[in-house]
């Protein structure tokens, strides 16, 4: 238990959750978070859940690009008027 000196509790670990998943965290805090996750199954599960959520969000929202028709119209507007 000597390793517990500066270790985070669950509440503190979850406070860093998004910064950790976004990789916007200092190496020291990352280390502390990972140390907590190695010993806490509940938090590990919680972090994995949030990671799955962010991946899902990105994949689904990215599905919305411009349709081929929209792209064609925009390209015509861009270069058609330039005489190119």
């Amino acid at each position: 238990m000597s390793d517990e000196r500066h270790s985070l509790d669950c509440r503190q670990a979850v406070e860093h959750l998004y910064e950790y998943l976004d990789q916007e965290i200092t190496p020291e805090i990352r280390h502390e978070v990972e140390r907590h996750l190695r010993t806490c199954g509940d938090c590990l599960q919680h972090f994995e859940f949030e990671r799955a959520f962010l991946r899902f969000l990105e994949a689904r929202a990215r599905a919305r690009g411009a349709s081929p028709d929209v792209k064609r119209r925009i390209l015509r507007e861009l270069f058609g008027t330039e005489g190119a």
Binding site: E58, A61, R73, E77
Partner: protein, 188 residues
């Protein structure tokens, strides 16, 4: 050095056009309307082509395009914008959906059942300030610092908006999944 029309077009095609989907997504996020999104995308790309000589080669073309888009939106579109009904984020409890699904679906498998349209509706239902932060971070993958620069906000504000928006989205999508029977609400 002045570029010929042909050189400018070639550079623009290689460096700006690959971001057309990202530009369109941001336009949709801000306007919430396909026709206006197309107009805004077109206007943004035209402005970018005309201002191409001002683009610093090697810098982030996507961030540059999205900034042009945002300024165009603020100056020319927002005034005409019909403000759609949005969720009141202050009313959203900042607790995690995970705590509710921990016993029944801790891996969040229910997310996979949710259709794209529902995800987009959930994003559109966020207030504009929050919607654009989610788009720039979670969809386009910009770091906090870049978003802060693009939106001219302190990093702390970007973070708090992002985290609250994620909570709100998660909550709404969870409620939808419960309603559709994709996940059981925990018996209380």
């Amino acid at each position: 050095m002045t570029l010929t029309t042909e050189e400018r077009r070639r550079q623009f095609e290689t460096e700006a056009l690959p971001h057309l989907d990202a530009v369109y997504r941001y336009a949709q996020t801000l306007t919430g309307d396909p026709t206006r999104a197309e107009d805004l995308t077109q206007e943004t790309m035209l402005k970018a082509l005309r201002a191409w000589h001002q683009f610093e080669r090697g810098s982030n073309a996507r961030a540059w395009l999205l900034t042009i888009l945002r300024n165009t939106f603020i100056n020319e579109y927002r005034r005409r914008q019909h403000q759609a009904e949005t969720v009141d984020l202050a009313a959203i409890e900042p607790y995690h959906v995970f705590e509710e699904v921990q016993d029944v679906d801790p891996e969040g498998r229910f997310f996979a059942s949710i259709v794209d349209d529902e995800v987009l509706r959930a994003i559109q239902a966020l207030p504009e300030d929050f919607r654009e932060v989610v788009l720039l971070s979670d969809v386009e993958g910009f770091p906090y610092a870049d978003i802060a620069k693009m939106l001219d906000l302190p990093i702390g504000t970007v973070k708090s908006r992002l985290f609250r928006a994620r909570h709100a989205l998660q909550r709404r999508l969870y409620d939808y999944a419960v309603e559709m029977g994709y996940v059981k609400r925990r018996a209380s």
